[in-house]
């Protein structure tokens, strides 16, 4: 026989002002099985909880209904209270008579009537509640970092520092990411490689860090604490364990006309290549799109010159499967494609470059050895025009609606470096707004203007026209002077908007994490949980979550690491016990449930059944892994026989609620 206690909260006047709480308590006291029905000022307060606890003990309650605010507010509070009084926490139900009643209705009579129905519904449900016990699920003490840029490297280093194993999966042949391509960093102007490469080396030498370069995440299964990830190691046709990185093969390779992606295609590399001198791992990779041996079967030079015998033309993609407790996403960004911006002549004129290309043009390891020369004729540019917000802050389908955040600062940096190195060069920056919030940022920008005499012009470039004499006509407006300008430039630099890496979207699907319309990962809470995704155990690091500069990226990377470490420190995590379960006697083994399960929590086993005639029969039946199931209930409806049901939201419980509402 059920002994149910009903507790009606006044919530001060929040409920009591529009709901006659005494009448509710009185009415619910007459519901079947209810042995005690009380009202109280603040049920969630210490003394209110005490009231509930005492009643559980004194009245030997088998179920509790709290008529109060939304279960999203205090369901856990009351579950804990019940547990401390010795009642299974899942024998508590909340009737939401504040958000869904007193706050939205004004008439006391109808609001009270509705509150009674809501209470009655909760009583009807609690009659069918069963004690549920949370399972403990172990945490695998290993983290996966997806992306080996500065964000991924920093996160991996921090996690390794805390004593946990970390794997980095990087799709390029080397880690380092965008920062490796950058020449100098703002606002200190120190060399990016000088601060990045030691970290890359540190990562490669840390025995807790495993780097899977030239690899991709192929599949993710499981859940917080216990993800199973399939990693595809793409064939690089070079045995990583044998290659010494001597680089002889790259010198001897006869195919040298491959656009060098590390230098943004501004020069060429060989078909077998090491992206840059400080690459980690320093291992050669063969580009199958250009390698003559792989394409035609004729060549084999690299194999002949390799004394380590590392070349393997027959290498295949391989897959490794590994368990992880936490996953950190650090997939980073790319500049957008500028094909649609005809007005800037990016595709027509080699001397119109993006800012990232300019980084390479100015870098000592770049195509010109650090001397700034025009890509077209290798002459010194004397007039350079920078265009801000190319594709950022756009309300059209060509660009991005957001501010890319980093362009103002790197443009100031570029302008300053050029004026420093080549004082005879005139530098114009066309800006809409100069946005420099950040420590020492505005000072930096002012230095560019005041000390280096960079011409900042408020206005936008409307048209860039390459001329026959090799010069470039830049037509722009100077809004403050109210005039239209024509600048006879040698080079134009476009501050292209940045966007999340294209691999992020399919990855989000695999990870079951959410993204915004711009394909940036969505954080669990924009203010209070900025480095966690809404999916437990998945953390966000760096520009995959939104545009960020290096200091911010590193800060977020360490924050994500801290969150991951917090998870990995636990030996086990408590699972939600409201999961699906299948009645084997009724299950047909038809696989409908398995097909709709987003977590792969359902498997099939052949089970022996004893028949009434004493024979045995083997049937295929579904089996739910309660640690993997998240309790959505999709399977319960897919199941035609009704064998599949959901604890906490069972068919009979929901139907009892329906009945109570419609009574």
């Amino acid at each position: 026989m059920q002994r149910i206690g009903v507790f009606v909260c006044h919530c001060g006047t929040n409920i009591a002002a529009t709901v006659d709480v005494k009448a509710v308590a009185e009415a619910l006291g007459h519901e079947p099985g209810v042995v005690i029905s009380q009202d109280y000022q603040y049920m969630c307060s210490e003394s209110g909880q005490e009231l509930v606890k005492n009643a559980i003990k004194e009245q030997k309650l088998t179920g509790v209904v709290i008529c109060s605010c939304s279960p999203r507010m205090h369901e856990n509070t009351f579950r804990k209270a019940a547990a401390s009084a010795g009642l299974n926490p899942y024998l508590v139900e909340i009737a939401n008579i504040r958000e869904q009643c007193s706050w939205i209705h004004k008439d006391i009579a109808t609001a009270t009537e509705k509150a009674i129905i809501l209470g009655r519904t909760a009583v009807a449900k609690v009659h069918l509640n069963t004690p549920l016990n949370s399972m403990e699920s172990p945490v695998v003490k290993r983290a996966l970092v997806i992306g080996g840029g500065i964000a991924g490297i920093q996160t991996a280093l921090d996690i390794a520092e805390a004593g946990f194993d970390v794997d980095i999966v990087e799709k390029q042949p080397t880690i380092g990411g965008k920062m490796a391509q950058i020449d100098k960093t703002f606002p200190t102007l120190d060399c990016a490689a000088c601060i990045l490469t030691p970290k890359m080396v540190e990562a490669s030498q840390n025995e807790r860090i495993t780097i899977h370069s030239f690899s991709e995440v192929a599949d993710v299964k499981g859940f917080v604490g216990n993800f199973t990830v399939k990693i595809k190691k793409k064939a690089r046709f070079v045995d990583e364990t044998k290659c010494t990185g001597c680089g002889l093969c790259t010198e001897k390779c006869p195919m040298k006309k491959v656009p060098n992606e590390f230098n943004m295609g501004l020069d060429n590399r060989s078909a077998i290549y090491i992206p840059f001198a400080q690459a980690v791992p320093k291992v050669a990779t063969i580009d199958p799109n250009y390698c003559m041996m792989l394409k035609t079967g004729k060549c084999g030079v690299c194999s002949k010159v390799c004394s380590a015998g590392a070349i393997d033309y027959k290498q295949q993609d391989t897959f490794i499967e590994q368990q992880y407790g936490a996953i950190v996403v650090a997939t980073g960004f790319n500049p957008i494609n500028l094909d649609k911006y005809d007005e800037f002549a990016y595709n027509q004129c080699p001397d119109v470059v993006t800012s990232l290309e300019l980084e390479r043009l100015m870098n000592a390891a770049g195509p010109n050895g650090g001397t700034l020369l025009r890509p077209s004729d290798k002459t010194h540019p004397h007039t350079i025009v920078f265009v801000q917000c190319v594709g950022s802050r756009c309300d059209d389908e060509k660009g991005k609606p957001y501010c890319s955040k980093i362009c103002c600062m790197y443009t100031a940096k570029h302008a300053m470096l050029i004026r420093e190195k080549y004082p005879d060069t005139e530098v114009y920056v066309f800006y809409i707004d100069v946005r420099t919030p950040g420590k020492n940022f505005d000072e930096f920008y002012r230095r560019a203007v005041e000390q280096y005499n960079v011409h900042y012009i408020k206005g936008m470039v409307g048209k860039v026209t390459p001329k026959s004499d090799g010069k470039i006509d830049v037509q722009a407006s100077d809004l403050l002077a109210n005039e239209q300008l024509h600048i006879n430039a040698d080079m134009v630099v476009l501050a292209a908007a940045i966007e999340p890496d294209k691999t992020a979207r399919p990855l989000a699907t695999m990870l079951t994490t959410q993204m915004d319309t711009n394909d940036f990962f969505t954080e669990a809470h924009p203010k209070l949980r900025p480095v966690e995704s809404a999916t437990a155990g998945i953390f966000l690091s760096g520009a995959c979550q939104g545009p960020k500069d290096i200091p911010e990226t590193v800060a977020q990377a360490s924050a994500a690491a801290a969150k991951a470490i917090g998870l990995l420190c636990k030996n086990s995590i408590t699972c939600n016990p409201c999961v699906a379960h299948s009645d084997e006697l009724m299950c047909n083994g038809c696989s409908s449930c398995e097909k709709v399960c987003p977590y792969g929590a359902i498997t099939y086993i052949d089970k022996e059944f004893r028949m009434p005639d004493r024979t045995t029969k083997v049937r295929r039946v579904a089996s739910v892994n309660p640690a993997v199931c998240q309790g959505c209930g999709a399977c319960t409806v897919a199941c035609p026989s009704g064998a599949m049901d959901l604890s906490g939201f069972s068919n009979s419980q929901i139907m009892a609620e329906v009945d109570a509402i419609c009574k």
Binding site: E343, C389, D395, D396, V461, S477
Partner: protein, 127 residues
């Protein structure tokens, strides 16, 4: 500021001037810039302020080629050319009467006249 005129211009242009972020790309791209007293970005801003009458009196409304370069290039989708046209229309309506009737056109045609110019002329000089 003339509220009614502003309303009329906003309605007839269908443009939301508040979307403008003042980048000036419209004026940067405008081929008639030097001919104009008020430039495309100023049109947008002045309409926002409600300063329509000044624009109506300006020659600028007839200098716009309606080439739509500003519409094409505007990163915010503001469509300045439509604002210019709406102001011009307001001026034409106020003056009353057509400056160009469709029946006038055949006499004006010559071989070199691009068809677009005729359409533009209708836009500019007819109600």
């Amino acid at each position: 500021m003339n509220k009614n005129l502003k309303e009329q211009v906003l309605r007839s242009s269908g443009v939301n001037v508040l979307k403008c972020m003042r980048c000036g790309k419209c004026s940067a791209t405008c081929p008639s810039y030097d001919e104009m007293e008020y430039h495309p970005h100023q049109f947008v801003y002045m309409v926002e302020k409600g300063d329509i009458e000044t624009l109506m009196k300006s020659e600028s409304i007839y200098k716009c080629l309606t080439c739509f370069a500003c519409v094409e290039r505007c990163p915010r989708g503001v469509e300045p050319a439509k604002v210019v046209e709406a102001v011009r229309l307001a001026a034409v309506r106020q003056q009353g009467g057509n400056h160009l009737e469709p029946t006038d056109i055949p006499a004006l045609l010559d071989e070199d006249l691009p068809q677009q110019a005729i359409v533009t002329a209708m836009r500019k000089y007819a109600k």
